[in-house]
Amino acid sequence: MLEIHDASVHIGARAILKSVSVRMPPGRLTVVAGPNGAGKSTLLKVMTGELRPHEGSVRFDDRALEEFQPHELAARRAVLPQASQLAFPFTVLEVVRLGLECRPGVSKALRFSAPSAALARVDLAGFGARHYQELSGGEQQRVHLARVLCQIGEPVTAGRPQYLFLDEPTSSLDIRHQIETLEIARRFAREGGGVLAILHDLNLAAAFADHLIVMHEGEVAAQGTPRDVISDDLMQHVFGLPLRVGRLPDGDLPFILPQSLEGFPARA
């Protein structure tokens, strides 16, 4: 279980996170949504230990997060950042294998099989020998997902749940790979791991999230099941959009059809 309690982050005089409390239990796919600049990536950085909150606490399995050594954390959780850069000519396999490098006690057999298995899971089987730089943006994003999967192994390892943090894992992907990526995330949660994914697409969030957290101006504007959270009110207040939330006939699942705002009454 990973939980942050009353975490605040300011940069200069500006508060980027304001007393945010969030829990990330294993077995659940938690999705964080919200407008650009709402503080989603900052929240993720606080939860992964990359950024220490100025106030509040982060606890991981009932221990303060800052007490963990980097390698201890790396053995328990993997992080897919919003953007990655790579300055040198690595092959796809070499990038994916970076995920294994810091895992202690990786057998030779696993070192051989895990990267190709991870590549196959993200639909990049046979890409191992390609140069990373020569891939398309979406393919590069999936390479990093494979690297993250390689780092974390099974959802439950040595009796303890593992955690995945994904910052906009679907931002460059086509619709099929968006669905497949979230399918991977959800299966990871079903099998006992914890997943937190930042998504902009509320329809994807509605379809896959067990728990949806909507951030707005550094605060949690709403959280709960997507059914409860995604409403006309939320669209208006958080996104400033006068769009109606539709409901799918089966199970009441909310959906939003993006459309032009022409013809809508001007915003107050």
Binding site: A87, F90, T91, E94, G126, G128
Partner: protein
């Protein structure tokens, strides 16, 4: 065990083995090259007979064991150190254009060395003269360390490094260090001036067993320690935050990397002045051949750096014989156009 496709580690291992063989052969061959040529067979005979052989021509024994051997060893160590410093600096800055000579680290080390040459005699009088010799590489190390830390602080923000800022900051640091050296040269005595000039030409001609005992261990230590960085440098290629997520203690990695770069550059500069471009040419060539994995790149670069510097030194010793060219001129003549070529091909990346 089969090799996964895209795995270049076995290829790299072969390359490293070949480079080691080539370096060994060249090292022996270089002992026969110079103002007086010696056939390879004679070199080997002298080598096998040891430094105190009485039954061989004393001149040959002297040339091989007292003159060329320390020079060859120093040359190889310097080449290996500069190439290693290049790899580490490039990994740390996440771009292939970093070179201790180009970004001001060598100039910082040179300023440290010049300071010691000029101010040292006042510091180490009488019985402490012995320390003066060791003080030179230490001062060069300190100068290199300060330059590296400054460069890192200037060019890196929020764990990301700007290539343009790094190169420009390197120019500024280099100019500043050069100004400092110039100032010291201005106040230097006649004797110190000669010492500085001799040293700053970037020549190996002053090589001796004594210099080797002073600077050699530092370089050897750096070369042995550098492979420890391999895993961390691989991870930091993705960015500092990513390296942390992958389990690397980023702060410790950076400190060790900066320390090693300063150690390698300082020790090399203390012996031979500024020798540029080894650190940029060697890793670049190797990335093409064996890939960018630092665990292979570090030892391979050390070997190829040593090999190339020995070649350059053999060239420098023979091209204008019986005189010799400062080796820094040879490496710059080859390395500068090479660097320009790299820059032109990567123009888009260096754009501000």
């Amino acid at each position: 065990m089969p090799i996964a496709e895209g795995d270049r580690s076995r290829k790299a291992a072969f390359a490293i083995a070949w480079l080691a063989v080539a370096l060994g052969a060249l090292a022996v061959a270089s002992l026969g090259v110079g103002a007086s040529k010696m056939p390879l067979g004679d070199v080997i005979t002298v080598l096998l007979a040891g430094p105190n052989a009485k039954h061989l021509p004393a001149g040959d024994v002297l040339i091989v064991w007292q003159i060329r051997m320390p020079r060859m060893l120093l040359g190889a160590l310097i080449g290996a150190s500069l190439a290693t410093a290049g790899v580490v600096l490039q990994g740390l800055f996440r771009n292939p254009l970093a070179d201790p000579g180009l970004v001001g680290v060598s100039s910082g080390a040179a300023l440290g060395a010049v300071t010691m040459i000029v101010l040292g005699p006042g510091l180490f009088a009488g019985a402490f003269r012995l320390f003066e010799m060791f003080a030179l590489p230490v001062a060069a190390f300190a100068g290199g360390l300060i330059a590296t830390i400054l460069l890192y602080a200037i060019a890196t923000r929020r764990g990301r490094t700007s290539v343009a800022t790094m190169l420009l900051a390197g120019i500024a640091l280099g100019a500043f260090a050069a100004a400092g050296s110039g100032l010291l040269i201005y106040v230097a005595s006649e004797q110190q001036l000669r010492e500085i000039t001799f040293w700053s030409l970037g020549a190996l001609s002053g090589a001796s067993w004594i210099k080797l005992t002073v600077s050699g261990p530092i370089m050897l230590l750096v070369l042995l320690a550098a492979p420890v960085l391999g895993r961390g440098l691989n991870a930091i290629v993705l960015g500092e935050a990513e390296a942390f997520h992958l389990g690397i203690n980023v702060q410790r990695l950076k400190h060790l990397a900066i320390f090693l770069v300063a150690g390698a550059t300082g020790a090399a500069v203390a012996v031979s002045g500024v020798i540029g471009f080894v650190g940029i040419v060697v890793p670049h060539l190797l990335r093409f051949a064996i890939g960018a994995d630092h665990r292979a790149l570090l030892p391979a670069s050390a070997l190829l750096g040593a090999t190339l510097l020995l070649l350059a030194d053999m060239f420098a010793r023979t091209i204008v014989a019986p005189a010799e060219l400062p080796i820094g001129i040879v490496t710059a003549a080859v390395g500068a156009p090479f660097f320009l070529g790299m820059l032109l091909r990567r123009r888009g990346i260096v754009d501000l």
